[in-house]
């Protein structure tokens, strides 16, 4: 397992240049991202690897589970209600006799889709604003960073609740609200990477060769920010999945009968005393998925950041 402490260095940018950076670290900082070495380091990190394996299984289950299952996630069969796990229903059935394993697979589709797409939206927004802020500097930087500060101070969950209650829940609204309330971290990270990179020699070289602002920003500076964005995004997917499950649990997220892990949990609450296993499966799946994304993000951070290497 790994240390998760030293991470803040990256976000704050490296310490000011000068005598306090050991030469080998300075050299590592000046090298472009070493993807192959990073890959090796990542594969040495057992927890991150375990996370990646679990996520691969979860995605396979989400994609192929529904194709393999003979049941529909919404087909009601009262005769089979609360059936214990058997060969026909490997994880048993719920209060309407629906196959729990099938519903979990469909629920995985909802939860994982929300995680990926909302974070995709947040990464796009955050990268755009962070890049503008870091590249332009000056008043544009100041203005954008004030917006980031304000957005971070908002009790976003209250606004999200209101929005969903008023405009109705559902997959698309949930993706939008999570995306629009979680881009700030990415923006900060991208901005600091831009600040770090923009005065470097290879950027000046590109400019001297006649590259315009856009080309320098997109082709030369942005790739340097990619590792940090990947870290930020995988930690972000973790929290997006948590938020989705919480919203669905409150009845404002993915709407029944479409299953998501969160609304399956909400549903199971009424049967907590009689069939606690209905609450156990989706809860454990959420926990493991979010845990995996957190381990993955942390492993990526270690693997991609030469400064943090031991």
């Amino acid at each position: 397992m790994k240390r998760f402490g030293e991470l803040e260095y990256r976000e704050a940018g490296p310490p000011a240049a000068g005598g306090d950076i050991p030469p080998e670290v300075a050299a590592a900082l000046l090298r472009p991202v070493g993807w192959r070495a990073a890959g090796k380091r990542f594969f040495r990190n057992r927890m991150a690897l375990a996370g990646a394996v679990f996520l691969a299984l979860a995605y396979l289950g989400a994609v192929f589970g529904p194709l393999v299952s003979p049941y529909s996630p919404e087909a009601i069969d009262p005769a089979e209600a609360f059936a214990p796990p058997t060969l026909r229903h490997p994880l048993g059935t719920d209060e309407h006799g629906r196959d729990v394993a099938t519903r979990l697979a469909y629920g995985a589709r909802a939860s994982l889709t929300v995680g990926l797409l909302s974070m995709g939206l947040a990464v796009c927004l955050g990268t755009l604003l962070g890049a503008l802020s870091g590249y332009l500097g000056g008043w544009a930087d100041a203005a954008i960073m004030r917006v980031v500060d304000a957005a971070m101070a908002l009790p976003a969950f209250f606004l999200v609740l209101t929005f969903l209650a008023v405009f109705g829940g559902g997959l698309v609204s949930v993706i939008l609200v999570i995306g629009f309330t979680s881009w700030m971290g990415v923006a900060r990270v991208v901005r600091s990477e831009f600040l770090r990179t923009r005065g470097r020699e290879f950027v000046e070289a590109a400019r001297a060769l006649g590259a315009g602002d856009l080309r320098v920003a997109v082709r030369h500076v942005l790739p340097q920010a990619l590792p940090s964005v990947m870290v930020s995004a995988s930690l972000g997917v973790a929290s997006a999945i948590l938020v989705e499950s919480a919203l669905s649990y409150l009845g404002l997220g993915v709407q029944p009968p479409t299953p998501s892990w969160g609304n399956m949990l909400m549903n199971s609450r009424q049967y907590m005393w009689t069939a606690p296993r209905l609450a156990v499966y989706p809860g454990v799946l959420i926990l493991l998925t979010v845990l995996s994304y957190n381990f993955l993000g942390d492993g990526l951070r270690d693997a991609l950041d030469p400064y943090l290497r031991d």
């Binding site: 397992m1 240390r3 803040e8 606004l159 609740l161 649990y249 949990l265 926990l287 845990l291």
Partner: protein, 315 residues
């Protein structure tokens, strides 16, 4: 210092203003109007009359202006659903949420600081790994599911703790009873903040322990305990204070879930009920008050930061 203070306060006011505009826009741009208008079995005329009575016929900016004007006179309006003054409902609920949030935060800090210190001073030891593992678990567990597990264990199986509410029905107020009701919600809510405080304490302390003045302290023979607690920890805690400020919005967000699961009569459950019932004045009032509390707390944290760290000079 004074100009910084003024600047920060203006920023705080701006954030609160943004909160009111966004909330107002969300609730008022909704299709269908408040649910009382949609769900009621009434004729079109009756609905029109009610709409006029609630002042919903006027254009948006006018309504915002009226709301703002009343607000500045200390009037948050009346609830659409039961006609009670919004301020009264909030006055009843806010102390409960402050109690829950305060307890959760106190619990987080009380456990997270020692955990962070142990894992920083004994880096890569078994303790460090366990602390890290539990922080990751806390970071990843869905709060409502954790709450259900706790209820199943401590209320249903062991009958140790009450599963919901703030007090036992029919019993007068007693401190023991209140604390018994508070334990599980506070533990659940603290999972939102504790892992983050642990990781920041650890990384911040590690950074400080590598500094020259720590080496100086060791060189002049200060015992390790003194080095860690008197020299290093004091400075390491400064960024931790900032992190606690940044965690406040997440804490009040977590309160919505925690209060709902445990039937805790606070601002979170009030907000949920108001949002679902489209009780506009209540939604506006709750969001405004929660936003203001968070913004003020952040302002306090910022100023405390300057007191704790004399190196910081406000421009």
């Amino acid at each position: 210092m004074r100009s910084y203070l003024i600047k920060r306060m203006m920023q705080a006011v701006a954030v609160v203003f943004i909160i009111t505009v966004v909330t107002f826009a969300i609730v008022n741009l909704a299709p269908g109007g408040p649910s009382i208008l949609v769900s009621m079995e009434s004729t079109a005329e009756e609905r029109e009359a009610l709409k006029a009575k609630l002042g919903l016929g006027q254009p948006l900016p006018v309504r915002y202006w009226k709301w703002m004007n009343a607000l500045l006179h200390g009037d948050l309006g009346r609830s659409f659903s039961d006609g009670r003054p919004v301020a009264e409902a909030i006055g009843q609920r806010l102390p409960n949420t402050l109690l829950l949030g305060g307890a959760a935060l106190a619990l987080s800090v009380a456990l997270a600081l020692p955990a962070g210190v142990v894992s920083a001073t004994r880096r890569y030891s078994l303790c460090d790994y366990l602390v890290t593992l539990f922080s990751f678990l806390g970071l990843s567990v869905p709060a409502f599911w954790f709450a259900i597990v706790l209820i199943l264990l401590f209320s249903v199986r062991l009958h140790w703790l009450p599963s919901s509410g703030m007090a036992t029905v029919g019993l007068g107020f007693s401190l023991f009873d209140r604390v018994a009701h508070l334990v599980m919600p506070a533990v659940v809510l603290s999972t939102v903040t504790m892992p983050q405080i642990v990781r920041f304490t650890r990384s911040s302390l590690l950074e400080v322990l590598g500094q020259d003045y720590v080496r100086t302290a060791r060189a002049k023979g200060v015992p390790e305990r003194g080095v860690v607690y008197r020299h290093a920890l004091r400075n390491a805690l400064i960024p931790v204070v900032t992190v606690i400020g940044l965690l406040l919005p997440a804490l009040v967000g977590g309160a919505v879930i925690t209060e709902t699961v445990f039937g805790w009569p606070g601002m979170g459950s009030l907000a949920l009920a108001a949002a679902v019932g489209r009780d506009y004045p209540m939604v506006m009032g709750v969001t405004l008050v929660v936003g203001t509390v968070v913004v003020l707390a952040n302002l306090g944290v910022d100023l405390a930061y300057g007191l704790l760290d004399p190196r910081i000079r406000y421009e």
